[in-house]
């Protein structure tokens, strides 16, 4: 059964067994504006929950994207190199950043579910 979770730094995670897909939320891409460049980690890199995993750049500034869970990068979304605007167009789908083989799936339980994230974002405005 797949689980969808969110971090306070506006990353989303969709987990299926021990593999999860990570991206940034619709709110995050709105805040960033037009994405012009995405720097993704190398496949095989070991990630630690809460540490920097990727960089997403808008016209004006670079922003860090943090690993929502610990584990190994098993796949990255190469399509973002040629068309970074995909992140704006479809942040929750085609704009995914990485797939991770989780070393500790229990970390997911520390994250917000969709309703909690929605409330969190409303509180920010």
């Amino acid at each position: 059964m797949s689980k969808e979770r969110y971090t306070e730094e506006h990353e989303w995670v969709r987990a299926e067994n021990d593999i999860c897909t990570v991206g940034i939320s619709v709110y995050a891409q709105e805040q960033l504006g037009d994405v012009v460049y995405v720097e993704l980690p190398e496949v095989g890199r070991q990630l630690q929950k809460g540490k920097e995993m990727a960089v997403v750049e808008s016209v004006k500034a670079a922003s860090e994207v943090y690993a929502p869970v610990s584990g190994e990068v098993v796949e990255v979304n190469g399509a973002l190199t040629g068309d970074p605007a995909t992140v704006n167009r479809d942040a929750m789908g085609e704009g995914w950043f990485v797939k991770i083989r989780m070393s500790n799936p229990a970390e997911l339980d520390q994250l917000m579910d969709a309703d909690a994230y929605k409330t969190y974002v409303e509180g920010l405005s």
Binding site: V36, Y37, E57, V59, K60, A62
Partner: protein
């Protein structure tokens, strides 16, 4: 949240209009300014190069300099800038610099000969300091009036002359870098053919009470869309134009900055401006570093303060402005390098996030300019 000094941000007379248009507001030089509208920076940038964009630049300083007694305001101003101000005919304007005794740049500004006075437009971040600077040196010779009840709009793009020409036909054929008092939709304005985007366009100084109706009227024209400071920055960077506080400041001389062209022939011979000794010596002997255009060869932008290295990894300079050029379609930057590395085509390395990225020196502007040539 970081502690604030609780000084509220200032607002231009168009603040409410910006909110109505859905602008994302950010603090800039003590003002709440629109960084972009719902279209976004890329679309606003492209629209400026394709049609016409309207920018609120009312945060900038507008200063009137009038000679006292039988004096001459141009002579007075020349004691503070290296430009040829005396030579400006009525209605003519010029870009110049306030320099300091070390030859550095206190601010950059536009000066217009408005007949019985000089009209100055200075950067928002420095307007109080610039007025103080003028007073400290010229108070005996000139009245220095900060025009705080005036607002400033910029209408920029290939369609700007057509649009403004519907209100005042003279706008179509006004020479570049000239200014006239005109009536636009019943409102008196000082209109200059100048700007900060590399495109044809106009800057429009009007009474603060008139700027909202005028802005609405211009936005109602089919070619015109609003654009914010985000697009203003990406446009000027593509045009190779300096931003004071980033590309030029008190530690950079006009020669290092590639602005020697602002120092007229007579001024090179006569001096008589702060820092003349240093600046004229650099004109003769060359400066040890130069501002250059930089094209990162990969896709990652290199932002301000990125270290520039030569192929051995030795530091040779620093990026002062950097980002993404929507018209260029890739990352662009400006920075200073040791003069041996300033030739077009020179290979550079940029230290971005612990990696060295290849880049090369390119000519400025990154995008050809479209100034009106008549």
């Amino acid at each position: 949240m970081t502690a604030s000094t609780d000084v509220p941000s200032k607002r231009t007379p168009l603040y409410d209009l910006h909110l109505e248009l859905g602008a994302k507001m950010v603090p800039f030089a003590g003002y709440d300014m629109p960084v972009n509208y719902p279209a976004g920076i890329m679309a606003e940038h492209r629209h400026t190069r394709e049609r016409a964009s309207l920018f609120d630049v009312s945060h900038m300083g507008q200063i009137r300099l009038t000679a006292k007694g039988g004096g001459n305001a141009a002579d007075a101003l020349e004691t503070l800038v290296p430009g040829e101000i005396r030579e400006l005919a009525p209605g003519q304007m010029r870009y110049t610099l306030f320099t300091n005794e070390a030859g550095g740049i206190l601010d950059d500004l536009m000066v217009t000969n408005s007949g019985d006075h000089l009209f100055l437009v200075v950067n928002a971040a420095h307007k109080e300091a610039d007025a103080a600077h003028l007073r400290a040196h010229l108070a005996e010779r000139c009245e220095i009036e900060e025009l705080t009840t005036r607002a400033l709009l910029a209408l920029q793009g290939p369609a700007a002359a057509e649009v403004l020409g519907r209100f005042a036909p003279q706008c179509r054929t006004m020479p570049f870098m000239s200014a006239s008092f005109l009536v636009l939709d019943g409102m008196t304005a000082l209109v200059s053919r100048s700007g900060y985007t590399g495109e044809d366009g106009f800057e429009i100084s009007v009474a603060a009470k008139d700027v909202e109706p005028l802005a609405r009227r211009l936005l109602a024209e089919p070619e015109v869309e609003p654009a914010g400071l985000g697009a203003r920055d990406s446009l000027r960077l593509e045009a190779g134009l300096c931003l004071h506080g980033q590309d030029i400041d008190e530690t950079t001389t006009p020669i290092e900055a590639g602005l020697a062209w602002t120092i007229g022939k007579r001024r090179r011979a006569e001096g008589g401006f702060p820092g003349a000794e240093t600046i004229l010596r650099q004109l003769r002997e060359g400066a040890s570093r130069r501002r250059v255009g930089i094209r990162p060869e990969e896709r990652a932008p290199a932002r301000a303060h990125t270290e520039i290295r030569d192929e051995t990894g030795r530091r040779i300079g620093e990026v002062t402005s950097g980002g993404f050029g929507p018209t260029v379609g890739g990352p662009i930057a400006m920075g200073y390098v040791e003069k041996e590395f300033s030739a077009e085509g020179t290979t550079l390395r940029l230290a971005v996030r612990g990696r060295e990225m290849p880049a090369r020196v390119v000519r400025l502007p990154f995008v050809p300019t479209n100034y009106y040539r008549g």
